[in-house]
């Protein structure tokens, strides 16, 4: 009956059990209920998952406060004088908490109840392919969706655990910015917190073992960001290896090697942003689900090696964004209950944003990947200083770069520009649907907007 021991149960408690209530799980749960299925969701932490509680939403709310403070401080260049511009960090934290509440995660339990979705709190553990244990109870279901997300990787740096550190989870809840901070990891999270705390007066060191920041994107992106950070007084250490950390009084001394020499930095706090590992500790072997260090293995239909178990979100990859998680969740929900026409995941046009100032947004292929694939490509790039909006906004640092094949079909793009996160979607649409750069050139772009730079970059691509 319960299916423990490997046998398939004769009847099920639920049509679908979703493990995890983040974007990867929640979307499928709601879709399944809309299709008339009996659904349960299991959550070990806060309802809503990482993004609204600890990730995108709180950090973007804090960065918005930082941007507002920065604009107020520098209004004088545009003739706007604001005297005694200051900030109240507890009030900024209160604003962040309000933004998190507005996402509706605090009403998450009621939202599930109103849709007749059973919410089960606790850690889920598979006992067999059809049975899961949560607390003292067992549940079985016809289908499962695993969307358990990721957890912070703590690198084996001598002295790190003893000295103590914070991650993004603690960083969003600080009641005052630290006087000095050493950020380990120059990816999106590390760069965003570097920007945030630097704006509020923290002396920031940012270190990464990679030769540049945002290392997975085109080199120009990381190089420009490093230059911008340096101009703001941030000390960036690329190609740096942290060798040990020692606590000295109230300070933490970080020792690192760079260019064959040992350097040290004395700071109040250490922020770890060294990447994330998938949460796979849920008895996957008992369920016959294949997984490795990078996550659960799925096919293009989001199906695991156990055909009735699907997986979506950060626990799967290859991208760890809220938008890819919800995309995968939609695909999984469809494929579970529609056997005639299945949807498959397509990652050729996934927008990737870093919310620093100016914003960074990329989509599709990078130059490095095209070179590795020995793909013949052409590049069109323009600095944003060429366009009218740059003049009227008094902002001239940034660029738009597009990559296209020899026929002019767009393959990838990188933008460093204010509102790059908005601008990237024009190129995302073009790449998704295989459009040529010429199609964007022939499209009228409003003057004066930042998006004019996209058109100008596409103009540099030759169509054959």
């Amino acid at each position: 009956m319960l299916g423990v021991g490997g046998q398939r149960p004769t009847d099920f408690d639920f049509d679908l059990i979703v493990i995890g209530t983040g974007a990867g799980g929640g979307v499928a749960a709601h879709a399944a209920v809309s299709a008339g299925k009996k659904v349960a969701v299991i959550e070990a932490e806060k309802v809503g998952g990482e993004c609204p509680n600890f990730g995108c939403v709180p950090t973007k709310a804090l960065l918005q406060a930082a941007e507002t403070y920065e604009i107020a401080k520098h209004g004088g260049q545009l003739g706007v004088q604001a005297s005694n511009v200051s900030f109240n960090y507890p009030a900024i934290k209160a604003w962040k908490d309000l933004a998190v509440r507005h996402t509706g995660t605090s009403e998450g339990e009621q939202a599930y109840a109103s849709e007749h979705i059973t919410l089960i709190s606790g850690h889920a553990h598979f006992l067999s392919p059809w049975t899961i244990s949560v607390g003292r109870r067992r549940y079985n279901a016809h289908k499962f969706l695993i969307a358990t997300g990721t957890k912070q990787i703590v690198p084996p740096i001598p002295g790190l655990a003893e000295t103590g550190f914070i991650t993004y989870r603690e960083a969003i809840d600080l009641i005052k910015p630290p006087k000095s901070l050493f950020v380990i990891g120059g990816g999106a999270i590390g760069c965003e917190f570097t920007q945030l705390f630097n704006t509020f007066g923290t002396t920031v060191h940012l270190a990464d073992f990679a030769p540049r920041l945002i290392g997975q994107e085109d080199p120009e992106v990381g190089e420009l960001l490093e230059a911008l950070f340096a101009s703001r007084g941030i000390t960036v250490h690329t190609s740096a290896r942290i060798t040990r950390i020692v606590k000295k009084g109230s300070k933490k001394i970080v020792y690192f090697e760079k260019d064959g020499q040992t350097h040290e930095a004395s700071v109040e706090q250490i922020l770890l942003s060294t990447g994330k590992a998938p949460n796979t500790d849920l008895g996957l072997d008992n369920a016959g689900v294949s997984w490795d260090h990078s996550g659960i293995t799925v096919n293009r239909f989001m199906q695991t090696s156990s055909k009735h178990i699907y997986a979506a979100g950060d626990v799967v990859g290859p991208f760890r964004f809220t938008h890819t998680a919800s995309y995968q969740s939609r695909i999984a929900a469809h494929n579970m209950f529609h056997t005639k026409k299945k949807f498959s995941a397509d990652y050729k046009a996934v927008p990737r944003c870093v919310f620093v100032d100016p914003e960074i947004a990329c989509v599709g292929a990078t130059e490095q990947r095209l070179r590795e694939d020995r793909f013949e490509y052409q590049v069109g790039a323009v600095p944003i200083s060429l366009i009218g909006r740059s003049n009227t906004s008094n902002m001239d640092t940034g660029f738009v770069k597009v990559l296209a094949d020899r026929y002019g079909v767009l393959l990838g793009a990188s933008i460093v520009c204010p509102r790059a996160g908005e601008m990237i979607h024009e190129l995302t649409l073009a790449i998704q649907h295989g459009l040529r750069a010429q199609a964007i050139v022939e499209t009228i772009h409003a003057f004066p907007t930042w998006s004019e730079a996209v058109r100008l970059a596409c103009q540099k691509i030759k169509s054959r």
Binding site: V4, G5, G6, Q7, A44, H123, H125, L127, S133, V134, G135, R136, R138, D281, G283, D285, N286
Partner: protein
């Protein structure tokens, strides 16, 4: 009380002495000194106990995997012995 789901499907209470004994025997089988084998077995029981903390029910296979994972770091030969003793003997 933690419960272990056995291969046949029935459950029994988690008994750390059984885990201790099997790890200890695996260590001895690969010529680990008695005193060291005791310390290793104690450490493995502690680590598996920590892992079990947020779980009420796991399978015996899970216990085997967790124990061998930690044992592999301390003594890879003992870990292999622990995981495959049924095939070896």
């Amino acid at each position: 009380m933690k419960h272990i789901v056995k291969r046949a499907g029935h459950t029994e209470s988690y008994d750390e002495r059984k885990l201790y004994a099997s790890v200890y025997a695996s260590c001895l089988a690969v010529r680990e000194p008695v005193g060291s084998a005791e310390l290793v077995a104690k450490e493995i029981v502690r680590l598996v106990g920590e892992w079990l903390n947020n779980k009420h029910e796991v399978s015996s296979h899970d216990i085997r995997l967790q124990a061998s994972k930690h044992l592999k770091v301390i003594n890879p030969d003992a870990s292999f012995q622990y995981l495959h003793h049924k095939v070896i003997y």
